[in-house]
Protein backbone atom coordinates (compact mmCIF):
# COMPACT_ATOMS: atom_id res chain seq x y z
CA UNK A 1 0.00 0.00 0.00
CA UNK A 2 2.78 2.35 1.09
CA UNK A 3 4.75 1.39 -2.03
CA UNK A 4 1.74 2.24 -4.20
CA UNK A 5 1.38 5.63 -2.51
CA UNK A 6 5.08 6.37 -3.01
CA UNK A 7 4.88 5.39 -6.67
CA UNK A 8 1.86 7.64 -7.19
CA UNK A 9 3.64 10.53 -5.46
CA UNK A 10 6.72 9.94 -7.63
CA UNK A 11 4.62 10.12 -10.78
CA UNK A 12 2.89 13.27 -9.56
CA UNK A 13 6.29 14.87 -8.81
CA UNK A 14 7.60 13.87 -12.24
CA UNK A 15 4.58 15.34 -14.03
CA UNK A 16 4.79 18.55 -12.00
CA UNK A 17 8.51 18.99 -12.77
CA UNK A 18 8.02 18.19 -16.46
CA UNK A 19 5.24 20.75 -16.73
CA UNK A 20 7.41 23.30 -14.91
CA UNK A 21 10.30 22.66 -17.32
CA UNK A 22 8.02 22.90 -20.35
CA UNK A 23 6.59 26.17 -19.04
CA UNK A 24 10.07 27.62 -18.54
CA UNK A 25 11.10 26.50 -22.04
CA UNK A 26 8.05 28.13 -23.56
CA UNK A 27 8.47 31.38 -21.64
CA UNK A 28 12.19 31.56 -22.52
CA UNK A 29 11.46 30.89 -26.20
CA UNK A 30 9.05 33.84 -26.09
CA UNK A 31 11.64 36.08 -24.39
CA UNK A 32 9.42 36.51 -21.34
CA UNK A 33 11.14 39.40 -19.58
CA UNK A 34 10.38 38.57 -15.91
CA UNK A 35 11.91 35.13 -16.45
CA UNK A 36 15.04 36.65 -17.99
CA UNK A 37 15.35 39.05 -15.05
CA UNK A 38 14.97 36.14 -12.64
CA UNK A 39 17.71 34.24 -14.48
CA UNK A 40 20.01 37.26 -14.24
CA UNK A 41 19.28 37.69 -10.54
CA UNK A 42 19.99 34.03 -9.83
CA UNK A 43 23.22 34.13 -11.83
CA UNK A 44 24.24 37.30 -9.97
CA UNK A 45 23.55 35.60 -6.64
CA UNK A 46 25.77 32.65 -7.55
CA UNK A 47 28.39 34.92 -9.10
CA UNK A 48 30.44 35.67 -5.92
CA UNK A 49 30.70 31.97 -5.07
CA UNK A 50 31.70 31.21 -8.62
CA UNK A 51 34.31 33.97 -8.72
CA UNK A 52 35.86 32.66 -5.50
CA UNK A 53 35.92 29.12 -6.86
CA UNK A 54 37.37 30.39 -10.15
CA UNK A 55 40.25 32.01 -8.28
CA UNK A 56 40.77 28.90 -6.20
CA UNK A 57 40.65 26.36 -9.02
CA UNK A 58 41.95 28.51 -11.87
CA UNK A 59 45.53 27.23 -11.48
CA UNK A 60 44.28 23.63 -11.54
CA UNK A 61 42.49 24.23 -14.83
CA UNK A 62 45.54 25.98 -16.26
CA UNK A 63 47.81 23.12 -15.19
CA UNK A 64 45.43 20.59 -16.73
CA UNK A 65 45.33 22.54 -19.98
CA UNK A 66 49.12 22.64 -19.93
CA UNK A 67 49.41 18.88 -19.46
CA UNK A 68 46.68 17.72 -21.83
CA UNK A 69 47.37 20.36 -24.44
CA UNK A 70 51.16 20.03 -24.53
CA UNK A 71 51.36 18.65 -28.08
CA UNK A 72 48.84 21.19 -29.27
CA UNK A 73 50.80 24.00 -27.60
CA UNK A 74 54.03 22.77 -29.14
CA UNK A 75 52.51 22.73 -32.62
CA UNK A 76 50.95 26.13 -32.04
CA UNK A 77 54.27 27.51 -30.82
CA UNK A 78 56.00 26.24 -33.95
CA UNK A 79 53.31 27.73 -36.15
CA UNK A 80 53.54 31.07 -34.33
CA UNK A 81 57.33 31.15 -34.78
CA UNK A 82 56.85 30.60 -38.48
CA UNK A 83 54.18 33.29 -38.64
CA UNK A 84 56.43 35.68 -36.73
CA UNK A 85 59.20 35.21 -39.26
CA UNK A 86 56.79 35.87 -42.10
CA UNK A 87 55.42 38.91 -40.28
CA UNK A 88 58.91 40.35 -39.81
CA UNK A 89 59.38 40.13 -43.55
CA UNK A 90 55.98 41.64 -44.23
CA UNK A 91 56.31 44.48 -41.72
CA UNK A 92 56.67 47.25 -44.23
CA UNK A 93 53.97 45.84 -46.47
CA UNK A 94 51.69 45.48 -43.46
CA UNK A 95 52.08 49.08 -42.40
CA UNK A 96 51.33 50.07 -45.97
CA UNK A 97 48.25 47.89 -45.86
CA UNK A 98 47.05 49.57 -42.65
CA UNK A 99 47.51 53.03 -44.16
CA UNK A 100 45.74 51.88 -47.30
CA UNK A 101 42.84 50.46 -45.28
CA UNK A 102 42.50 53.65 -43.24
CA UNK A 103 42.56 55.84 -46.31
CA UNK A 104 39.98 53.63 -47.98
CA UNK A 105 37.77 53.84 -44.90
CA UNK A 106 38.15 57.63 -44.95
CA UNK A 107 37.17 57.69 -48.59
CA UNK A 108 34.11 55.66 -47.82
CA UNK A 109 33.22 58.06 -45.03
CA UNK A 110 33.42 55.34 -42.43
CA UNK A 111 34.01 56.49 -38.86
CA UNK A 112 37.04 55.09 -37.10
CA UNK A 113 36.06 52.31 -34.75
CA UNK A 114 38.10 53.58 -31.82
CA UNK A 115 35.96 56.73 -31.58
CA UNK A 116 33.10 54.60 -30.30
CA UNK A 117 32.79 54.37 -26.49
CA UNK A 118 33.89 50.96 -25.36
CA UNK A 119 34.51 48.82 -22.33
CA UNK A 120 37.16 46.14 -21.92
CA UNK A 121 36.04 42.85 -20.40
CA UNK A 122 37.87 39.76 -19.25
CA UNK A 123 36.73 36.37 -20.46
CA UNK A 124 35.78 34.57 -17.27
CA UNK A 125 34.45 31.34 -18.72
CA UNK A 126 35.17 29.99 -22.14
CA UNK A 127 32.27 27.56 -21.94
CA UNK A 128 30.75 25.41 -19.27
CA UNK A 129 29.18 22.66 -21.34
CA UNK A 130 30.04 20.48 -24.27
CA UNK A 131 27.60 22.12 -26.67
CA UNK A 132 28.36 25.82 -26.21
CA UNK A 133 31.59 26.03 -28.16
CA UNK A 134 30.70 29.30 -29.79
CA UNK A 135 30.18 31.50 -26.79
CA UNK A 136 32.16 32.94 -23.90
CA UNK A 137 31.21 34.89 -20.80
CA UNK A 138 32.82 38.17 -19.85
CA UNK A 139 32.91 40.01 -16.53
CA UNK A 140 31.13 43.14 -17.77
CA UNK A 141 27.41 43.64 -17.95
CA UNK A 142 24.53 46.07 -17.89
CA UNK A 143 26.17 48.16 -15.15
CA UNK A 144 28.91 48.95 -17.67
CA UNK A 145 26.44 50.03 -20.34
CA UNK A 146 26.45 46.76 -22.24
CA UNK A 147 23.26 45.83 -24.09
CA UNK A 148 22.07 42.92 -26.19
CA UNK A 149 23.60 42.79 -29.68
CA UNK A 150 26.56 45.11 -29.11
CA UNK A 151 29.66 44.24 -31.16
CA UNK A 152 32.66 42.67 -29.48
CA UNK A 153 36.15 43.19 -30.90
CA UNK A 154 39.82 42.62 -30.21
CA UNK A 155 42.78 44.38 -31.77
CA UNK A 156 42.44 42.03 -34.73
CA UNK A 157 38.84 42.97 -35.45
CA UNK A 158 35.36 41.60 -34.86
CA UNK A 159 35.12 38.50 -32.65
CA UNK A 160 31.42 38.40 -31.88
CA UNK A 161 28.45 40.15 -30.33
CA UNK A 162 26.67 40.30 -26.99
CA UNK A 163 24.01 37.62 -26.94
CA UNK A 164 20.91 38.13 -24.84
CA UNK A 165 20.28 40.60 -22.06
CA UNK A 166 23.42 40.88 -19.94
CA UNK A 167 23.47 40.49 -16.17
CA UNK A 168 24.64 43.35 -13.99
CA UNK A 169 28.26 42.22 -13.98
CA UNK A 170 28.47 39.62 -16.71
CA UNK A 171 27.36 38.97 -20.25
CA UNK A 172 27.55 36.29 -22.90
CA UNK A 173 29.36 36.78 -26.19
CA UNK A 174 28.45 34.74 -29.25
CA UNK A 175 31.58 34.27 -31.34
CA UNK A 176 31.68 34.96 -35.06
CA UNK A 177 32.71 31.36 -35.69
CA UNK A 178 29.19 30.26 -34.68
CA UNK A 179 27.53 28.87 -37.82
CA UNK A 180 24.45 30.89 -36.86
CA UNK A 181 26.37 34.16 -36.68
CA UNK A 182 25.73 36.58 -39.53
CA UNK A 183 27.21 39.99 -40.20
CA UNK A 184 26.80 42.44 -43.07
CA UNK A 185 30.16 43.06 -44.72
CA UNK A 186 31.75 44.69 -47.69
CA UNK A 187 35.10 44.12 -49.31
CA UNK A 188 37.03 47.35 -48.93
CA UNK A 189 36.83 49.30 -52.18
CA UNK A 190 33.52 47.83 -53.27
CA UNK A 191 29.95 48.95 -52.72
CA UNK A 192 28.18 45.59 -52.58
CA UNK A 193 27.00 44.72 -49.09
CA UNK A 194 27.13 40.97 -48.52
CA UNK A 195 26.31 38.64 -45.66
CA UNK A 196 29.11 36.70 -43.96
CA UNK A 197 28.33 33.78 -41.70
CA UNK A 198 30.40 31.72 -39.28
CA UNK A 199 31.85 28.49 -40.57
CA UNK A 200 32.52 26.66 -37.30
CA UNK A 201 35.42 26.55 -34.90
CA UNK A 202 38.79 26.97 -36.58
CA UNK A 203 37.13 27.42 -39.95
CA UNK A 204 36.84 30.54 -42.12
CA UNK A 205 33.75 32.68 -42.57
CA UNK A 206 31.66 32.22 -45.68
CA UNK A 207 30.13 34.97 -47.78
CA UNK A 208 27.38 33.37 -49.81
CA UNK A 209 24.77 36.10 -50.12
CA UNK A 210 24.74 39.55 -51.63
CA UNK A 211 27.97 39.84 -53.59
CA UNK A 212 27.22 40.14 -57.30
CA UNK A 213 29.30 38.21 -59.76
CA UNK A 214 30.74 41.27 -61.50
CA UNK A 215 31.96 42.97 -58.31
CA UNK A 216 35.74 43.19 -58.40
CA UNK A 217 37.11 41.31 -55.42
CA UNK A 218 40.60 39.85 -55.26
CA UNK A 219 42.34 37.41 -52.97
CA UNK A 220 43.79 39.29 -50.00
CA UNK A 221 41.10 41.95 -50.03
CA UNK A 222 40.17 43.21 -46.57
CA UNK A 223 36.56 42.62 -45.50
CA UNK A 224 34.97 44.98 -42.98
CA UNK A 225 31.56 45.43 -41.42
CA UNK A 226 29.26 47.32 -43.74
CA UNK A 227 27.40 49.33 -41.12
CA UNK A 228 24.45 49.76 -43.42
CA UNK A 229 21.18 51.10 -42.03
CA UNK A 230 19.91 49.14 -39.00
CA UNK A 231 23.06 47.02 -38.84
CA UNK A 232 24.07 45.91 -35.35
CA UNK A 233 27.64 46.83 -36.14
CA UNK A 234 29.28 50.16 -36.90
CA UNK A 235 30.98 50.38 -40.28
CA UNK A 236 34.64 49.63 -40.74
CA UNK A 237 35.36 46.95 -38.16
CA UNK A 238 37.86 44.53 -39.72
CA UNK A 239 36.30 41.11 -40.21
CA UNK A 240 38.91 39.24 -42.26
CA UNK A 241 40.81 38.68 -45.45
CA UNK A 242 39.49 37.03 -48.62
CA UNK A 243 41.31 33.73 -49.07
CA UNK A 244 39.20 32.07 -51.74
CA UNK A 245 36.72 33.14 -54.37
CA UNK A 246 34.16 30.94 -56.04
CA UNK A 247 31.25 31.69 -58.33
CA UNK A 248 27.63 30.64 -58.22
CA UNK A 249 26.77 30.88 -61.91
CA UNK A 250 23.13 30.02 -61.30
CA UNK A 251 22.49 32.85 -58.85
CA UNK A 252 25.10 35.18 -60.36
CA UNK A 253 26.84 35.59 -57.03
CA UNK A 254 30.38 35.39 -55.78
CA UNK A 255 31.12 33.09 -52.86
CA UNK A 256 33.97 34.27 -50.68
CA UNK A 257 35.97 32.43 -48.08
CA UNK A 258 37.14 34.90 -45.46
CA UNK A 259 39.83 34.14 -42.90
CA UNK A 260 38.89 36.07 -39.73
CA UNK A 261 41.38 38.79 -38.87
CA UNK A 262 40.87 38.22 -35.14
CA UNK A 263 41.43 34.89 -33.45
CA UNK A 264 38.27 33.95 -31.57
CA UNK A 265 39.93 30.99 -29.82
CA UNK A 266 41.63 31.35 -26.44
CA UNK A 267 40.37 34.86 -25.81
CA UNK A 268 41.50 36.56 -22.61
CA UNK A 269 40.25 40.11 -22.98
CA UNK A 270 37.77 41.62 -25.41
CA UNK A 271 36.41 45.08 -26.07
CA UNK A 272 32.69 45.68 -26.21
CA UNK A 273 31.74 48.62 -28.43
CA UNK A 274 28.91 50.50 -26.71
CA UNK A 275 27.28 51.00 -30.06
CA UNK A 276 23.56 51.44 -30.31
CA UNK A 277 22.66 51.18 -33.97
CA UNK A 278 19.19 52.67 -33.44
CA UNK A 279 20.59 55.72 -31.62
CA UNK A 280 23.27 56.19 -34.30
CA UNK A 281 20.68 56.05 -37.00
CA UNK A 282 18.35 58.55 -35.44
Amino acid sequence: MATGTRAARSRFTLIFLLLSSATLLTLDARDFEPLQRTEETLADLISPLRSGADRLFGPVGDAWAGVTGYDELKAENQMLRQELQELEGQKILDSDAVIRLESLLDELGLPYVLDIPNVVGEVVTANVGNFDRYSVQINRGSDDGIRNGMPVVTRGGLVGRIDGDPGQGHSRVTLLTDPGFEVGVLAVGTDDVALASGGGRGKPLMVAKGLEIDTEVALGHEVVTSGVDRSRYPPGIPVGIVTDIDFDEARLLQLLTVEPSANADNLSFVTVLLYDSLAEGS
Partner: protein, 168 residues
Protein backbone atom coordinates in the same frame (compact mmCIF):
# COMPACT_ATOMS: atom_id res chain seq x y z
CA UNK B 1 18.66 12.69 10.90
CA UNK B 2 15.71 15.00 10.31
CA UNK B 3 14.14 15.62 6.92
CA UNK B 4 15.22 19.26 7.15
CA UNK B 5 18.85 18.23 7.56
CA UNK B 6 18.57 15.88 4.57
CA UNK B 7 17.13 18.69 2.43
CA UNK B 8 19.82 21.09 3.63
CA UNK B 9 22.57 18.60 2.82
CA UNK B 10 21.06 17.93 -0.59
CA UNK B 11 20.84 21.65 -1.39
CA UNK B 12 24.42 22.19 -0.22
CA UNK B 13 25.60 19.25 -2.31
CA UNK B 14 23.78 20.48 -5.42
CA UNK B 15 25.13 24.02 -5.08
CA UNK B 16 28.68 22.77 -4.48
CA UNK B 17 28.47 20.43 -7.47
CA UNK B 18 27.25 23.28 -9.68
CA UNK B 19 30.00 25.67 -8.55
CA UNK B 20 32.66 22.98 -8.92
CA UNK B 21 31.45 22.19 -12.42
CA UNK B 22 31.52 25.85 -13.45
CA UNK B 23 34.88 26.65 -11.87
CA UNK B 24 36.81 23.42 -12.16
CA UNK B 25 35.39 20.49 -14.08
CA UNK B 26 34.39 22.48 -17.17
CA UNK B 27 38.11 23.22 -17.59
CA UNK B 28 39.26 19.61 -17.13
CA UNK B 29 38.74 18.65 -20.74
CA UNK B 30 39.94 15.51 -22.46
CA UNK B 31 39.86 15.66 -26.27
CA UNK B 32 38.01 18.94 -25.84
CA UNK B 33 35.21 17.33 -23.84
CA UNK B 34 34.40 18.20 -20.22
CA UNK B 35 32.85 15.79 -17.72
CA UNK B 36 29.08 16.23 -17.48
CA UNK B 37 28.93 16.72 -13.74
CA UNK B 38 25.32 18.01 -13.58
CA UNK B 39 24.04 15.02 -15.51
CA UNK B 40 26.09 12.68 -13.31
CA UNK B 41 24.59 14.33 -10.24
CA UNK B 42 21.05 13.76 -11.55
CA UNK B 43 21.71 10.15 -12.49
CA UNK B 44 23.44 9.23 -9.23
CA UNK B 45 20.61 10.90 -7.29
CA UNK B 46 18.22 8.52 -9.03
CA UNK B 47 20.47 5.55 -8.29
CA UNK B 48 20.71 6.34 -4.59
CA UNK B 49 17.43 8.07 -3.80
CA UNK B 50 15.02 6.49 -6.27
CA UNK B 51 12.90 8.06 -9.00
CA UNK B 52 11.31 10.94 -7.08
CA UNK B 53 14.54 12.27 -5.58
CA UNK B 54 16.34 11.66 -8.87
CA UNK B 55 13.77 13.79 -10.66
CA UNK B 56 13.94 16.61 -8.08
CA UNK B 57 17.75 16.64 -8.01
CA UNK B 58 17.86 16.54 -11.82
CA UNK B 59 15.42 19.42 -12.09
CA UNK B 60 17.32 21.53 -9.55
CA UNK B 61 20.80 21.08 -11.00
CA UNK B 62 19.41 21.32 -14.53
CA UNK B 63 17.98 24.75 -13.76
CA UNK B 64 21.32 25.73 -12.22
CA UNK B 65 23.35 24.82 -15.28
CA UNK B 66 20.72 26.30 -17.61
CA UNK B 67 21.60 29.71 -16.17
CA UNK B 68 25.00 29.41 -17.84
CA UNK B 69 24.16 27.71 -21.12
CA UNK B 70 23.13 29.53 -24.29
CA UNK B 71 20.41 26.98 -24.98
CA UNK B 72 16.78 27.50 -23.91
CA UNK B 73 16.27 27.89 -20.17
CA UNK B 74 14.67 24.69 -18.90
CA UNK B 75 16.09 22.31 -21.52
CA UNK B 76 18.66 20.75 -19.19
CA UNK B 77 16.14 20.75 -16.33
CA UNK B 78 13.64 18.84 -18.48
CA UNK B 79 16.11 16.19 -19.59
CA UNK B 80 17.85 15.77 -16.23
CA UNK B 81 14.43 15.40 -14.54
CA UNK B 82 13.46 12.59 -16.89
CA UNK B 83 16.87 10.98 -16.59
CA UNK B 84 17.01 11.15 -12.80
CA UNK B 85 13.53 9.65 -12.62
CA UNK B 86 14.14 6.92 -15.22
CA UNK B 87 17.44 5.76 -13.77
CA UNK B 88 15.86 5.70 -10.32
CA UNK B 89 13.00 3.61 -11.65
CA UNK B 90 15.31 1.14 -13.40
CA UNK B 91 17.49 0.89 -10.32
CA UNK B 92 14.55 0.16 -8.01
CA UNK B 93 12.85 -2.32 -10.33
CA UNK B 94 15.77 -4.16 -11.86
CA UNK B 95 19.24 -3.71 -10.50
CA UNK B 96 19.06 -3.21 -6.76
CA UNK B 97 22.55 -1.89 -6.86
CA UNK B 98 25.86 -3.65 -6.97
CA UNK B 99 28.25 -0.68 -6.93
CA UNK B 100 29.85 -1.54 -10.25
CA UNK B 101 26.47 -1.79 -11.93
CA UNK B 102 25.58 1.65 -10.59
CA UNK B 103 28.78 3.06 -12.05
CA UNK B 104 28.14 1.47 -15.44
CA UNK B 105 24.53 2.68 -15.42
CA UNK B 106 25.74 6.21 -14.64
CA UNK B 107 28.12 6.11 -17.62
CA UNK B 108 25.51 4.68 -20.00
CA UNK B 109 22.90 7.16 -18.77
CA UNK B 110 25.34 10.01 -19.40
CA UNK B 111 25.81 8.97 -23.01
CA UNK B 112 22.07 8.50 -23.48
CA UNK B 113 21.25 11.78 -21.76
CA UNK B 114 23.60 13.72 -24.04
CA UNK B 115 22.08 12.13 -27.12
CA UNK B 116 18.56 13.03 -25.98
CA UNK B 117 19.72 16.55 -25.08
CA UNK B 118 21.17 17.06 -28.56
CA UNK B 119 18.17 15.61 -30.40
CA UNK B 120 15.55 17.42 -28.32
CA UNK B 121 17.54 20.66 -28.47
CA UNK B 122 17.67 20.47 -32.26
CA UNK B 123 13.93 19.74 -32.39
CA UNK B 124 13.36 22.86 -30.29
CA UNK B 125 15.37 24.96 -32.73
CA UNK B 126 18.80 25.05 -31.08
CA UNK B 127 21.73 24.88 -33.50
CA UNK B 128 25.05 23.02 -33.27
CA UNK B 129 23.91 20.28 -30.91
CA UNK B 130 23.57 17.24 -33.16
CA UNK B 131 26.91 17.39 -34.93
CA UNK B 132 29.69 14.99 -35.95
CA UNK B 133 31.30 15.77 -32.62
CA UNK B 134 28.36 14.45 -30.59
CA UNK B 135 29.49 10.83 -30.42
CA UNK B 136 32.96 11.84 -29.20
CA UNK B 137 31.31 14.01 -26.54
CA UNK B 138 29.09 11.09 -25.49
CA UNK B 139 32.03 8.68 -25.25
CA UNK B 140 34.42 10.91 -23.36
CA UNK B 141 31.77 12.36 -21.03
CA UNK B 142 30.51 8.85 -20.24
CA UNK B 143 34.05 7.78 -19.37
CA UNK B 144 34.47 10.86 -17.19
CA UNK B 145 31.23 10.21 -15.38
CA UNK B 146 32.22 6.57 -14.91
CA UNK B 147 34.96 7.88 -12.64
CA UNK B 148 32.98 10.71 -11.07
CA UNK B 149 29.92 8.61 -10.25
CA UNK B 150 31.70 6.74 -7.43
CA UNK B 151 32.29 9.81 -5.23
CA UNK B 152 28.92 11.22 -6.26
CA UNK B 153 27.13 8.04 -5.15
CA UNK B 154 28.95 8.32 -1.82
CA UNK B 155 27.97 11.97 -1.44
CA UNK B 156 24.30 11.25 -2.12
CA UNK B 157 24.39 8.51 0.51
CA UNK B 158 25.81 11.10 2.90
CA UNK B 159 22.98 13.46 2.00
CA UNK B 160 20.25 10.83 2.43
CA UNK B 161 21.59 8.32 4.96
CA UNK B 162 18.14 7.07 5.95
CA UNK B 163 16.90 6.42 2.45
CA UNK B 164 18.80 3.28 1.56
CA UNK B 165 16.95 0.01 1.06
CA UNK B 166 13.21 -0.10 1.61
CA UNK B 167 12.71 3.59 2.17
CA UNK B 168 13.29 4.39 -1.47
Amino acid sequence: MTTATAYLRSALFLLTALILHLALFSDLRVLGVAPEVPLAVAVTAGLVGGPERGAIAGFAIGLGIDLYLPTLFGLSALIYTVWGYSVGLIEVRIFRSAWWINVLVAAAATAGGLLVYAVLGELLGEANLYTDRLYRVMGVAAAGNLVLSLPLLGLWRWSWPGLLGEER
